[in-house]
C-alpha cells in the first residue's frame, strides 16, 4: 500500500490535522464538518468490514487517518461518536490477526487515547487489550500492547490506588494462569505482575498469589518467571527505588541561584529556578516521609509450607518434570529459601540433596548453598548428619583439590551455623585439623568452623582447641549446650541501648539543674512522667497534622498477617519497621513479664532483658530514638569497632534471615569455575581511575569547567580569539605614543633577558 501522489488542491481539502485543530478550538461551529468526516469514517469502516483482508485504504485519506482524527475529537461530540469505541474494539477483536500493522497500531493507540480522554474506562480498555495480548501471533503488537497495558495500569494507579481495577486485572491474570497450566500464555501474567511489583504498584498478597500459581505451572518458561520473581523481585524493586532517588538528588540549588544571578535574567531562567526549588522541596518532603511498608514477596505468601511442598514434589522430586538443571536449581533455591525463611519442615528435601553432593556435580556450590539455606534450627539433626558426613567424605580430604576442600568446609560451616547439632565430635575434630592446611582458603574455612564451635558447642572440640573463654565458660557453666528446639529468649532489638541512653540523659539533666547525679526514685518517676507526656504530646500533634498526608501509613488487611507473627521469637523482617515494632512492644509486654522471672534467675546471661519494655509503654519519641540508636550501633559495628565474636556470629545468622546464601559465599576465596570474560575485565579495570578519553590535562580541566557552567578566563579568550580580529589592533602600532613605545621596548628587553615569554626553564 503505497501512498498515492496527492495533488496540491486535494491536500488542502484533505487537511485533517487542520480541521482537527479548528474543531478543538470551536467544536460547535465545525460540527457539520465533523459529521461529514464521521460519515466518511463510517463508510470506510463499512468497506473495511465488508472485506477486512483485502480492503486497502486507497485514496487520499486513509482509514487510519480517519480513525486518528475521530479519536482526537471524540470528546467534543460525545453523542455522535457513542458507537466509536465499540467499533474500534470489535475491529480489533475480530481482525487483529489479519489487520495491516500500521492500522492495528493506530487502533490500539486510539483506544488508549479514548481512555485518556475518559470516554472509556480502564477496565474496558484492559479487557479489550489483554485477550489480544495473549492471543496475537505478532510480536510487535504484543510489545505494543504490553507497554500500553502497563502504562495504563500505572496511570490509573498514579493518584490513588485503584483497587477495583487492580482486583479485576489480578483476577484475570490469575485465571489465565490457572485455566491452562501447560500453556505458555501465562508468561504475560508473570511479566505484567513482575513489572508492577517492581514499580510498587501492586504490593499486596494477591500479586504474590499470581506468582505462586506461575511457579506451580507446567510450562518451563512460566515456572522460571514465577520462581525468578520470588528470588529476585524484591531486589529489583529496591534497586529501582534507589535509582529514582539518585536521580532526583542531583540538583544543587545554590549553584542554580548563583547562575541565575550572573547570567542574563530572563523569564525562562527564573522559571527553571522555581521548578528546581519545587523539585528539591518535593524530594525533601519525600525523604522525611516514613518508609512505606512493603513486605517482600516471600513474606506475603499465604501458605509457605504448602507452596514449598508442592514446588518440591512437583518440580524436583517428580521424575517426569521436564526442567533442565539450571531451572531445577532455581526451583531448589526457592524451596530452600522458603524452608529457611519460614522454618518449614520438608524432611524429604534433605535426602534429595544426597545424590548431588559430589565434587563432579555441575554447579555443586549452588547445591551446597541451597542445602545450607534450607537448614534452620528446627531441622532434626538426624536428617542433616548424613549430609554433613557425605560432604566431609566427598569434599574434604587430603587428596582433593584445595578449592574443593574449602568449598566443602565452608558449606559445613554454613550448615552448622544454622543447626549446630548436625555435627558430631569425631568429625568436627577431624575437620578442625585442616586449619593447619597450606592452602589459605581451606585454612580459613577450617578456622571459621573452629571459631563457630567455640561459641556454640565447645564441648565437641578437643580440650586444647577450645580456647580460653570457652573453657572458662564451660567450667563456670555459663555456656550451656543448646538442645534441639530450644530457643533464645527474645526482646526488642536495641532496647538496652535505649535504656542506657535514657539513664545518661537523666544524669545530664540533673547535672544541669545542679542536683546530685543519683536522685530518689520519686523524683525519677516524676521526671519520667513528664518526659513521657512530652513524647505523647509530640506524637499527638504529629498525628493530627499528618492524619491525611502520610506519616503513618494505613496497613492493608493483607499486611496484618505479617504483624501478628510477632509472637515469633525473632523480628519477622527488617522491613516491617516502625509499625510492627509498635504493635510488638505492646504485644510482647505480657510475654516478657513471665520471662522476667527466668531472667532474674539466670543472670549470667550476657544480654539480659531490659525492664524498660515491661514497665513502660514506649512513646513514639522513644521508638524514634530507638531506631536512631540501633542505626548508630550498626554503623559502629560495620566500622569494625570492638566487634566481638558473638556479634559476628549473630550477624551471620541474621544474614540468613533476609538474604539468600550464594554459591560465591560457599566458594570462598577460591573459585571452582573459570572466571568469565566480564569478570576478568572487571578485575583488570579495578583500581584504575575513570578516564573516558585520552586528552590533555588542559582539555580535561576545560571540560570540567564547561560542565559546571563556568566561563573562560580572559587569557583563554585572548588565545582563542579569531586572528582577523586582532589585526586591527596590530595596525595601532604606527600610532603609538612615545611612552607606549617605551613600555613595549622595555618589555621586550626584559623578556629577552628572561629568555622568552615564560622564562627560560633550562637556566
Amino acid at each position: 500500500m503505497g501512498k498515492k501522489r496527492v495533488g496540491a488542491l486535494e491536500k488542502v481539502d484533505a487537511d485533517l490535522p487542520n480541521l482537527q485543530y479548528k474543531i478543538r478550538r470551536d467544536p460547535k461551529s465545525y460540527s457539520e464538518d465533523f459529521l461529514n468526516q464521521y460519515g466518511q469514517y463510517q463508510s470506510q469502516r463499512d468497506i473495511f468490514l465488508a472485506s477486512p483482508t483485502t480492503a486497502s485504504s486507497t485514496g487520499i485519506v486513509s482509514f487510519r487517518d480517519l480513525i486518528d482524527f475521530v479519536a482526537h475529537v471524540a470528546d467534543c461530540f460525545p453523542e455522535d461518536t457513542a458507537s466509536f469505541p465499540t467499533d474500534l474494539k470489535t475491529i480489533l477483536m475480530l481482525h487483529h490477526a489479519s489487520l495491516e500493522s500500521e492500522l492495528r497500531e493506530k487502533i490500539v493507540g486510539s483506544l488508549v487515547l479514548l481512555r485518556r480522554k475518559e470516554i472509556i474506562d480502564s477496565a474496558e480498555l484492559l479487557n479489550t487489550l489483554f485477550p489480544i495480548l495473549v492471543a496475537t501471533p505478532s510480536k510487535t503488537l504484543r510489545t505494543l500492547l504490553f507497554q500500553k497495558i502497563l502504562s495504563d495500569l500505572r496511570t490509573s494507579n498514579s493518584k490513588s490506588v485503584n483497587h477495583r481495577l487492580n482486583k479485576t486485572i489480578q483476577t484475570a491474570l490469575f485465571n489465565l494462569l490457572t485455566s491452562d497450566r501447560a500453556s505458555a500464555k501465562g508468561i504475560w501474567a508473570v511479566k505484567i505482575t513482575r513489572e508492577l511489583w517492581k514499580r510498587q504498584i501492586w504490593t499486596d498478597a494477591k500479586a504474590v498469589e499470581i506468582m505462586k500459581e506461575a511457579a506451580l505451572a507446567d510450562n518451563e518458561k512460566v515456572i522460571g518467571g514465577g520462581v525468578r520473581f520470588f528470588l529476585g523481585g524484591d531486589k529489583e524493586r529496591e534497586e529501582l527505588e534507589d535509582d529514582s532517588s539518585d536521580e532526583e538528588a542531583g540538583i544543587d540549588i545554590g549553584k542554580l541561584k548563583h547562575q541565575a544571578g550572573i547570567n542574563k535574567k530572563s523569564r525562562k531562567t527564573k522559571k527553571s529556578l522555581e521548578e528546581a526549588v519545587k523539585k528539591v522541596k518535593k524530594t525533601e518532603k519525600k525523604k522525611n516521609q516514613p518508609h512505606p511498608l512493603n513486605f517482600s514477596a516471600l513474606h506475603l505468601l499465604h501458605d509457605p509450607q504448602g507452596f514449598a511442598e508442592t514446588l518440591f514434589s512437583k518440580h524436583l522430586q517428580n521424575s517426569k518434570s521436564k526442567l533442565n538443571l539450571e531451572q531445577k536449581l532455581l526451583v531448589l533455591q526457592l524451596v530452600s529459601r522458603l524452608v529457611g525463611l519460614h522454618k518449614l519442615t520438608v524432611i524429604s528435601l534433605y535426602s534429595y540433596f544426597i545424590k548431588y553432593l559430589t565434587p563432579r556435580q555441575p554447579s555443586v556450590t549452588t547445591f551446597l548453598a541451597c542445602l545450607a539455606q534450607a537448614t534452620h534450627s528446627l531441622v532434626p539433626p538426624d536428617a542433616l548428619e548424613p549430609l554433613v558426613q557425605k560432604i566431609a567424605n566427598e569434599f574434604v580430604s587430603e587428596a582433593s583439590a584445595s578449592e574443593v576442600a574449602s568449598a566443602g568446609l565452608n558449606a559445613i560451616r554454613e550448615i552448622c551455623v544454622r543447626q549446630p547439632l548436625a555435627m558430631n565430635d569425631t568429625l568436627l575434630q577431624d575437620l578442625v585439623m585442616y586449619r593447619k592446611s597450606k592452602d589459605k582458603g581451606t585454612m580459613m574455612a577450617a578456622k571459621g568452623l573452629l571459631s563457630l564451635y567455640r561459641e556454640v558447642g565447645a564441648d565437641l572440640l578437643k580440650k586444647r582447641d577450645r580456647g580460653k573463654t570457652a573453657t572458662i565458660g564451660l567450667k563456670s557453666g555459663s555456656i550451656k549446650e543448646r538442645r534441639f528446639g530450644e530457643e533464645e529468649i527474645g526482646g526488642i532489638e536495641g532496647l538496652e541501648l535505649l535504656e542506657e541512653w535514657k539513664a545518661e540523659e537523666r544524669k545530664r539533666k540533673r547535672a544541669e539543674k545542679g542536683l546530685p547525679e543519683l536522685g530518689t526514685d520519686e523524683e525519677d518517676d516524676e521526671e519520667d512522667e513528664e518526659e513521657e507526656n512530652k513524647g505523647w504530646e509530640n506524637w499527638d500533634a504529629e498525628s493530627d497534622a499528618s492524619s491525611d498526608s502520610g506519616g503513618w501509613i494505613n496497613v492493608e488487611s493483607d499486611a496484618e498477617i505479617e504483624i501478628s507473627d510477632s509472637e515469633d521469637e525473632k523480628p519477622a523482617s527488617k522491613k516491617a519497621k516502625l509499625d510492627s515494632l509498635a504493635t510488638k512492644s505492646t504485644s510482647d509486654t505480657p510475654a516478657n513479664d513471665e520471662e522476667k522471672e527466668n531472667v532474674d534467675k539466670d543472670k549470667a546471661l550476657e544480654h539480659k532483658i531490659s525492664s524498660l519494655a515491661t514497665t513502660k509503654i514506649l512513646t513514639p519519641a522513644d521508638l524514634a530514638k530507638l531506631q536512631e540508636l540501633r542505626l548508630q550501633a550498626s554503623v559502629t559495628k560495620t566500622m569494625g569497632k570492638n566487634k566481638s565474636q558473638a556479634a559476628r556470629l549473630k550477624e551471620l545468622a541474621d544474614r540468613h534471615a533476609d538474604d539468600p546464601l550464594t554459591a560465591e559465599q560457599i566458594e570462598g576465596l577460591s573459585k571452582l569455575r573459570k572466571s568469565t570474560r566480564e569478570e576478568k575485565i572487571a578485575l583488570a579495570r579495578e583500581g584504575k581511575g575513570e578516564r573516558g578519553e585520552h586528552k590533555s590535562t588542559q582539555a580535561l580541566r576545560r571540560q570540567k569547567k564547561d560542565a559546571e557552567g563556568k566561563s573562560t578566563t580572559n587569557r583563554e579568550k585572548s588565545r582563542k580569539k579569531n586572528f582577523m580580529m586582532t589585526l586591527g589592533k596590530a595596525k595601532f602600532k604606527q600610532k603609538r605614543s612615545l611612552t607606549q613605545t617605551r613600555r613595549v621596548l622595555k618589555g621586550h628587553i626584559e623578556r629577552s633577558k628572561r629568555g622568552g615569554k615564560r622564562g627560560n626553564i633550562g637556566m
Binding site: 498515492k4 501522489r5 486535494e10 457539520e32 459529521l35 460519515g39 470506510q44 485514496g59
Partner: protein
C-alpha cells in the same frame, strides 16, 4: 612570510585545471562518491521470456491488476482505458473476459482515487458492464459510492454522484432495497448537502464555518441526483405497477408464489449475518422506505428544499423537481397512515 606563500600555493591548487590526456581516463573529482555496489541476487527486468505473445485474457487480467494496484495514476488510467477498449470492441454476444464478480471488487475502490482522469475513465468502463450483473453487487458498490459522497475532496464527491447516477439507471430497485442502501445513502446525501444536523446539537443555531457542503456549482447536481434517488425509492417503478394491474383475474399475486428470480431472495431475513441496526436494515417495501424517510429525513429535506428554492436559478429549478417527486412519492403515504 614563508607560510603565506605556501598558503597561496595551496589556494591556487584548487583552481588549477586538470590536464586531459589521450588514452587515460578522466581524473575523478575530489568529491566523487563511488555508487557502484554488489548484490547477491539479480533482478531480471523482464520476468517472462516466452516467444509467443501473451493471450488476450492474461493481458486483460494483467491490466486489471495494474489498474487496481499500480502506484502511478497515469498507469492506472491507461490500464483502465485498455480495459474499456477491450470491452467496447468485443462483439456483443461474447462473454466478458473476466466475470463482473471479479472486475467490480477490484475496480470499485477507484471511485475514491485521487486522480480525476482515473475516475472519469472508470465511469466510462462501468457503463460498459452488463446491467444484469450489477444488481446483486449494488450493496458493495454503494459502500464505495457513499465513501466517495462523503469524501473530503469535492471532485471525488461529484464523481461519486455520477457513479450513483449510473447505478440508479442500471439497478434502481436494488439500490434502494439493499441492506443499508436507503438510510445510509440518504444520510450521506444529507451530510454532503449540508442538511445534516448533529444528533447531540443544542437548540442554538450557529452559522456554520464548514467549508464542506457549500459547493455552489455542484449543488444543483446534487439536488438532481437526490431527486432521482428519492424517485427510485419512493415512487413505484412502472413494471411493478404493471404487474400489479395486469394480473389476469383468477391469478392474483402469482409472482409471489413462484421461485424467486433474484439471488438471495431471503436476504431481508438476515439469517446468517450479524444483526443490523436501523441504518443497515433492508427496506424492501416502498411503505417501509416512506416510513423511515418521513421519520428521519423529511423535515431536513423540506427545509433544505425551501432554502434552495429561495436561491433561485439552477438550484431553484432543481429543487422544484425535487419537490414534485417528494410530493408524488409521499402522497399515498399519508393516505396509508390515515387508514391505519
Amino acid at each position: 612570510m614563508g607560510s603565506s606563500t605556501r598558503k597561496k600555493k595551496e589556494k591556487k591548487k584548487d583552481f588549477q585545471k586538470a590536464k586531459l590526456k589521450v588514452g587515460k581516463a578522466k581524473a575523478k573529482p575530489d568529491n566523487f562518491t563511488d555508487t557502484s555496489f554488489k548484490a547477491k541476487s539479480i533482478v531480471v527486468n523482464q520476468q517472462s521470456l516466452t516467444t509467443s505473445a501473451p493471450s488476450s485474457s492474461t493481458q486483460f487480467a494483467h491490466y486489471l491488476s495494474l489498474a487496481s494496484s499500480s502506484r502511478s495514476d497515469t498507469q492506472r488510467r491507461d490500464a483502465l482505458s485498455y480495459l474499456t477498449t477491450q470491452l467496447s470492441s468485443a462483439p456483443v454476444d461474447r462473454p466478458l473476459p473476466l466475470p463482473t464478480s471479479i472486475l467490480l471488487p477490484k475496480l470499485l475502490p477507484l471511485i475514491l482515487d485521487g486522480s480525476s482522469s482515473v475516475r472519469a475513465q472508470l465511469q466510462k468502463f462501468l457503463r460498459l458492464l452488463p446491467a444484469s450483473d450489477i444488481g446483486d453487487r449494488a450493496e458493495f458498490a454503494l459502500l464505495y459510492i457513499r465513501a466517495g459522497m462523503t469524501h473530503l475532496a469535492a471532485e471525488i464527491r461529484v464523481d461519486a454522484l455520477a457513479v450513483l447516477e449510473w447505478l440508479l439507471e442500471v439497478a434502481q430497485e436494488d439500490v434502494v432495497s439493499c441492506p443499508g442502501g436507503w438510510v445510509k445513502t440518504l444520510k450521506s446525501f444529507m451530510s454532503m448537502m449540508g442538511w445534516a444536523s448533529s444528533s447531540g446539537s443544542s437548540k442554538w443555531s450557529s452559522a456554520s464555518k464548514a467549508s464542506f457542503g457549500k459547493a455552489g456549482k455542484t449543488f444543483p447536481r446534487q439536488l438532481l441526483v437526490l431527486t432521482q434517488f428519492l424517485k427510485a425509492g419512493l415512487i413505484e417503478s412502472e413494471n411493478i405497477r404493471e404487474v400489479k394491474i395486469g394480473g389476469t383475474f383468477p391469478l392474483v399475486d402469482v409472482e409471489r408464489h413462484m421461485i424467486p428470480m433474484r439471488s438471495n431472495a431471503f436476504a431481508h431475513l438476515n439469517l446468517f449475518g450479524s444483526s443490523r441496526d436501523e441504518e443497515g436494515e433492508m427496506y424492501i417495501d416502498r411503505e417501509d422506505r416512506q416510513r423511515v424517510f418521513q421519520k428521519l429525513f423529511q423535515p431536513a429535506v423540506e427545509v433544505g428544499m425551501a432554502n434552495a428554492k429561495k436561491e433561485g436559478g439552477e438550484a431553484g429549478r432543481a429543487s422544484a423537481v425535487l419537490a414534485k417527486v417528494l410530493k408524488e412519492g409521499m402522497a399515498d403515504y399519508i393516505e396509508v397512515d390515515d387508514t391505519q
